[in-house]
């Protein structure tokens, strides 16, 4: 074996990253590109992909319902992300400050429910929020809600269940950053005149910004393409982009149309990501 080939770090680097890169190319980049290509094909009546090229699908995107759905997708995802962060940051703070022997136990307590199958957990919420479920009964009994009001099948229910589902995805990166945070900085801030909450906002939150950015991406991106939760919890009145794509694919059997919507979604996901990466680069360059 020619060992001298491995002596160059570049060759070694290429050999080590190669398999992963090829995997991503074959199973991620090429299919994504393929989807983009399909969106320029005509559809056939039998649900297949026709010959030739057309811009027809993109004219179909001018559906008057779509702007609302795109807006709703963005808005709901933003809300879910914001709420996840709002819960994660204080929890991460408490976890990071907890005595060492408690940290693992508390983290486990947060993680254990998520060993249950995702679909089962979503269906469990359906039971909880059902008009005859205990939450509705309790609300009616206390007088917070009139009998017959639906808790399910609206955007709020989607937000609630999504926040519940994605909380660990935001908590973990925020906690990882909080764990590395130097808490004497909070003492320093208070020493310089800050009240507790002021020190928290001025020093702790910027101090864990890396974790917050990661959490933002980890929650925002999957929610932009969310399909299961809006479908089961949201019903047709709170449809999101993911549901429309599924409908075009399974009910209408219009592959090019679904592909065009998919490409639109990819763009929606790509934009926040590029913005975050760009902002981070700028920040790091300025330091």
């Amino acid at each position: 074996m020619k060992t001298e080939k491995f002596q160059s770090p570049r060759v070694l680097e290429a050999l080590l990253t190669g398999p992963g890169l090829i995997w991503l190319l074959v199973f991620f980049l090429l299919p994504t590109f393929n989807v983009l290509l399909i969106s320029f094909r005509p559809s056939t009546l039998t649900g297949g992909i026709g010959e030739g090229w057309t811009l027809e699908t993109f004219t179909q995107l001018r559906n008057p319902n779509y702007p609302l759905i795109v807006f709703r997708t963005l808005w709901v995802s933003a809300w879910i992300t914001a709420l996840c962060l709002l819960f994660s940051i204080p929890v991460a703070y408490c976890l990071a400050r907890a005595p060492a022997r408690w940290k693992t136990r508390l983290l486990l307590l947060i993680m254990v429910p998520f060993l249950t199958n995702f679909i089962i957990r979503v269906f469990a919420w359906k039971v909880i929020l059902h008009p005859e479920g205990w939450v509705a009964s309790a609300f009616i009994a206390v007088g917070w809600m009139e009998a017959g009001t639906q808790l399910l099948y609206n955007v709020h229910a989607v937000v609630l269940v999504s926040v519940y589902t994605y909380l660990p995805f935001s908590l973990l990166p925020v906690y990882a950053a909080a764990e590395k945070f130097d808490f004497t900085l909070l003492e320093a801030a208070m020493d310089l005149g800050c009240k507790r909450l002021e020190a928290f906002l001025k020093v702790f939150v910027p101090g864990i910004s890396r974790g917050v950015w990661t959490a933002t991406l980890l929650v925002l991106i999957p929610n932009l393409g969310a399909y299961v939760i809006p479908d089961i919890i949201g019903g047709h009145r709170s449809m999101m982009l993911g549901n429309i794509i599924a409908r075009r694919l399974f009910s209408d059997r219009n592959l090019p149309h679904a592909a065009a919507l998919s490409s639109l979604l990819t763009l929606l996901v790509l934009v926040p990501m590029v913005v975050v990466i760009f902002v981070r680069r700028r920040r790091e360059a300025s330091t």
Binding site: L185, D191, L192, G193, C194, V203, G207
Partner: protein, 391 residues
């Protein structure tokens, strides 16, 4: 009058007393050091002064006002943290401006004050950098600027030089002293390094096991330690154990030390005959003689054999095996031209002497303090003997 007063401060953590009935008075404008081994309670005391910890018992009075229960943000006291605790996400300018911004001062005022601090601390040109882009010494100056810009009544320094390397430490010590002269506010410094404390402080409190052992000027603490712990912790010393004998020459007494001929000691602690006592003799107070010196009633004299000679230019350190199995450290400063006299060499029989006034009689220290008090390790006789002769 006391400017800052600790009154019977006690602080327990899980029932363990970290600070145990400490009363202290600190004067306005002085540099006061809390000195002691790690875990002696000095940092806890400082943190109570800053407001990060509440005393379990006792009061803290600043300028006549009880500040015991005030949160840190309401005290005119600022802290320099051991790690400096500069805010990594803010520039040097914003770090220094932090306290002023929290106090909602006007933009023009903030600008002027910070610029002035930058100038005083020689940080001009670094104001737009982030903390990780500047050196350790500069970080410390930023930390000091960030505290002083708020015009505190007291500046607390928690091991301010511990994070710096030796060269920088000496320079920063001089700089701290100069800053103190310029701003004239009270400094309270926590340190475990006696040279640091001795070099800069007006007064020092030596602490051990949550209690104050002695408070005094650096030279008082060095020359007249009140406990054997202080004697051993500050500088090096030789301890001889003996039984107090009858009084002699008025305030002096005889001390019976195994193997020693007779030892005369100044008994300022009024130890009673029959009591066991330590006598502490600093290495530089011992004189080493090649010939037996003339008898003098005030001079204590013991024979010995030199086991090690460490020549350091300005002085020579000797290790001498004395009677009773004592390994004695002797330091001799070379004030006269050193080549004219016959040098004292390894294995030579010598005499050691010290004046009765220079032996300090102290009560025995606790056995569990022994680890802290051990003299700098002398080379083991056995190990040396194993080495082959070079010549």
């Amino acid at each position: 009058m006391a400017f800052l007063e600790f009154q019977h401060i006690r602080k327990t953590f899980d029932g363990f007393p970290a600070v145990d009935d400490v009363s202290l008075e600190i004067r306005k404008g002085e540099i006061f050091s809390l000195l002691g081994p790690s875990g002696c309670g000095k940092t806890t005391l400082l943190r109570m002064c800053a407001g990060f910890e509440r005393p379990t018992e006792g009061r803290i009075i600043l300028n006549g006002k009880d500040i015991t229960d005030l949160p840190p943000n309401q005290r005119k006291v600022n802290t320099i943290f051991q790690s400096y605790a500069l805010f990594p996400h803010l520039t040097i300018f914003e770090n220094i401006a932090f306290g002023l911004r929290v106090a909602k001062r006007s933009e023009a005022e903030i600008h002027d004050e910070v610029e002035r601090m930058l100038k005083v601390m020689q940080l001009k040109g670094h104001e737009r950098k982030k903390p990780h882009q500047i050196s350790g010494g500069q970080k410390q100056r930023v930390a000091i600027a960030r505290a002083l810009v708020n015009k505190p009544e007291i500046l607390l320094l928690d091991e301010p030089l511990a994070a710096l390397d030796l060269k920088l430490r000496q320079r920063m010590l001089v700089e701290l002293d100069a800053i103190h002269d310029e701003v004239g506010i009270t400094f309270i410094m926590v340190t475990h390094d006696q040279t640091e404390a001795m070099g800069i402080s007006d007064r020092i409190a030596v602490m051990n096991r949550g209690k104050i052992q002695q408070v005094g000027r650096p030279n008082e603490i060095y020359e007249a330690p009140t406990t054997s712990f202080v004697a051993a912790f500050i500088g090096d010393t030789n301890f001889f154990v003996g039984q107090v004998g009858p009084a002699d020459h008025g305030d002096y007494c005889r001390l019976k030390i195994e193997g020693f001929d007779r030892v005369l000691c100044y008994n300022d602690k009024r130890l009673k005959p029959g009591q066991m006592a330590y006598v502490s003799v600093r290495p530089e107070k011992l004189r080493i003689h090649a010939e037996r010196p003339e008898d003098d009633p005030r001079l204590n004299l013991i024979p010995g054999k030199v086991t090690d000679v460490i020549y350091e230019g300005g002085r020579t350190d000797y290790w001498v095996d004395g009677p009773g199995g004592y390994r004695i450290s002797v330091t001799r400063a070379h004030q006269l031209f050193g080549l004219d006299e016959a040098p004292i060499e390894w294995n030579q029989a010598v005499w050691l002497s010290w004046h009765a006034d220079d032996g300090y009689m102290l009560e025995q220290y606790r056995e569990d303090d022994e680890e802290l008090l051990r003299l700098p390790a002398a080379p083991e006789a056995g190990r040396l003997a194993e080495l082959p002769d070079e010549d």
